[in-house]
């Protein structure tokens, strides 16, 4: 097959109807531009919402649930073995809120190659004291370095320094709203009262803003050792082990595995945030649906213009066939025309799409709940651009197929004799 010849004929036909082909190409350009801007914006938004919750949520959380023991002594007692036991109002044993053997578990987890990392945590309730007022709140003991590496803790610090927790013992970071309620600035001392009634002054070294106000109103952070000291617990006292995986999709399976292996409770991120993925999926689906609809409309434009071109160029097609071009060659010529419209329109669309995306990226977007974001989030993932290009070629190819087939079936005798 002589492709250069076929291509030169296709080009000549294109040039002879430059304005129409330009209109068709602009149609493709427009839809690809919108496709990219839409998907870039949508997936950018998705990613931002992901990071709002998912990035700082452990993929798996190991903890000990405070609940009644399912195996009560009476059911183990031999003489009652063949009896039914009815016990009402079973109470949970409150002494067991820590993870047993936390050192060993941590050691084993650090050797598991499926994990990106682990961060130990202690969650406890405290009162924050401001003069005569006690505010109920939560205090978490965290490993700042690991917390920052795995869950972007540093990103949410809006005042002071996260690593102050490491360098000063007896230091604390408070939620921004909580700090305002306590009239505390960084450097001030904050009075913390433990559940046991002990009062500790802690130095405020940073302010934290998660974007979730409910959270920021009650939450404080201190180092693991500070919280252990506050609560009078030994240094292996840990209530949570937060795990980040390399592959988030494996979380449910690994969570089940660890629950059995370590005899603790294990919660995976999919179970904890089930509604999240559904939202992401729907948003992406809508963007694709709109983008593809735009492309199909552009495809109809190309279809129309090619049909018109074929009616106009009947004579040309007939003469090509009479002088030895087979139906296949003629079909190829029109496919080439369709594809070059698609390619030219598509590539221009990629450039414009990138331009529009960067424009959206410049639009200021301030919201109290998202301290790290100052403009609209846009995703520049090359996969979007590749998908757009493939879609543009696929739709134009399909739009060209039927007119091209029609052209290939034109009977030259009818045209030549018909005059």
């Amino acid at each position: 097959m002589n492709y250069t010849l076929i291509f030169s004929i296709a080009r000549a036909l294109l040039v002879s109807r430059l304005r129409q082909t330009l209109v068709a190409a602009i149609g493709v350009t427009f839809s690809i531009t919108m496709f990219i801007a839409l998907l870039g914006f949508m997936t950018g938004l998705n990613k931002m919402l992901d990071s709002l919750v998912l990035n700082r949520t452990p993929h798996i959380r190991l903890f000990t649930e405070i609940k009644p023991n399912p195996v009560q002594p009476v059911s183990i007692y031999q003489p009652f073995r063949n009896h039914y036991n009815f016990i009402s109002s079973i109470k949970a044993d409150n002494s067991r809120d820590k993870i047993y053997n936390s050192r060993v578990i941590e050691k084993i987890l650090r050797q598991d190659s499926r994990l990106a990392g682990i961060a130990p945590k202690i969650n406890t309730q405290v009162f924050y004291n401001d003069g005569t007022v006690n505010l109920t709140g939560a205090l978490s003991g965290i490993d700042v370095a690991e917390e920052t590496r795995l869950f972007n803790f540093q990103d949410y610090i809006v005042g002071g320094n996260a690593f102050g927790l490491q360098s000063n013992s007896n230091s604390i970071i408070l939620g921004k709203t909580l700090a305002e309620k306590l009239h505390a600035n960084t450097g001030d001392l904050v009075q913390v009262i433990t559940p046991n009634g002990d009062r500790f002054p802690l130095r405020l070294v940073g302010l934290y803003q998660s974007g979730l106000n409910e959270f920021d109103k009650t939450q404080g952070f201190a180092s693991v050792s500070t919280v252990q000291k506050l609560m009078g617990k030994p240094d292996d006292y840990i209530t949570d082990i937060q795990i980040k995986l390399k592959n988030i999709a494996a979380a449910p399976a690994i969570a089940r595995e660890y629950a059995v292996k370590f005899d603790t409770d294990a919660e995976d991120i999919q179970t904890a945030n089930a509604q999240f993925e559904t939202g992401n999926f729907i948003r992406t689906l809508i963007s694709y649906a709109v983008g593809i609809t735009l492309l199909i409309v552009a495809g109809f434009g190309i279809y129309n213009i090619l049909n018109m071109l074929i009616y106009e160029k009947m004579d040309t097609i007939a003469i090509l066939k009479a002088t030895g071009f087979a139906g296949k060659d003629v079909k190829l010529i029109f496919i080439f025309i369709a594809l070059s419209i698609g390619l030219a329109g598509g590539l221009t669309g990629l450039v414009f799409g990138f331009g529009l995306s960067s424009l959206i990226d410049q639009v200021p977007f301030h919201t109290a709940s998202l301290p790290t974001i100052s403009t609209y989030p846009v995703n520049y993932d090359p996969a979007i651009y590749l998908t757009a290009l493939i879609f543009s070629l696929a739709t134009t190819w399909m739009a060209g197929l039927f007119p091209a087939r029609k052209a290939s079936k034109i009977d030259p005798v009818i045209i030549i004799r018909g005059k």
């Binding site: 010849l5 000549a12 003469i319 066939k321 030895g324 139906g327 005798v413």
Partner: protein
Amino acid sequence: MNNIILEARHISKYFDEPVNVKILDDISFIIGRQEFVSVVGKSGCGKSTLLYILSTMDTAYEGELLIGNEIINGKKEQELAQIRNQKIGFIFQFHYLLNEFTVLRNVMLPALKMARHSENEIKIKAMEKLDMLGITHLSGKMANQLSGGEKQRVAIARALVNDPDIIMGDEPTGNLDKKNRELVFEIFQKLVNEYHQTLLIVTHDPTMASISNRVIEMEDGKILRQTKN
């Protein structure tokens, strides 16, 4: 048998619409090398239909067609296109050049399709053909800038470019004025006498018939008589 260029054996054709009509009835003849054959007859006698069957463009007929001892019946569309490209040159009543291309490119096109020579060789060959017809000065013009007579001469050059076994014409002078008609006659005579080209021309023109070697007269789908000049 090497001198037989084209042979029709018992060719018949029917038109189904509007009623079943036999448009060609048992046509048989042979065209030998270097013959100049013209087919004449009244409008509707089936002479053009016959030409399009012989040209392999129309495949719905009964009987056998041989081009250069090769049976054409049953060949695929692509093979037929190749035969048209290599063995047959066409001249139509309405010149049919491609307006998107220059004269030279128009002439080159069938040879480019055949792709047996490089583009430069084809260019030289096309210029030779234009020179032979005395129209080299037109080579750079676009096809739609030419007069009718010029267009027809370009069409003849295009028909010649692949050195076909036979040139077929459907009323090649039907749309031309007297001066251009005579020019075409001259060219045809030159092709036969100097270049030993085989011609099969369907025509209304008595002059065309008179300069050909053999005249096939048709009436109502049958060959009425064949006369040698």
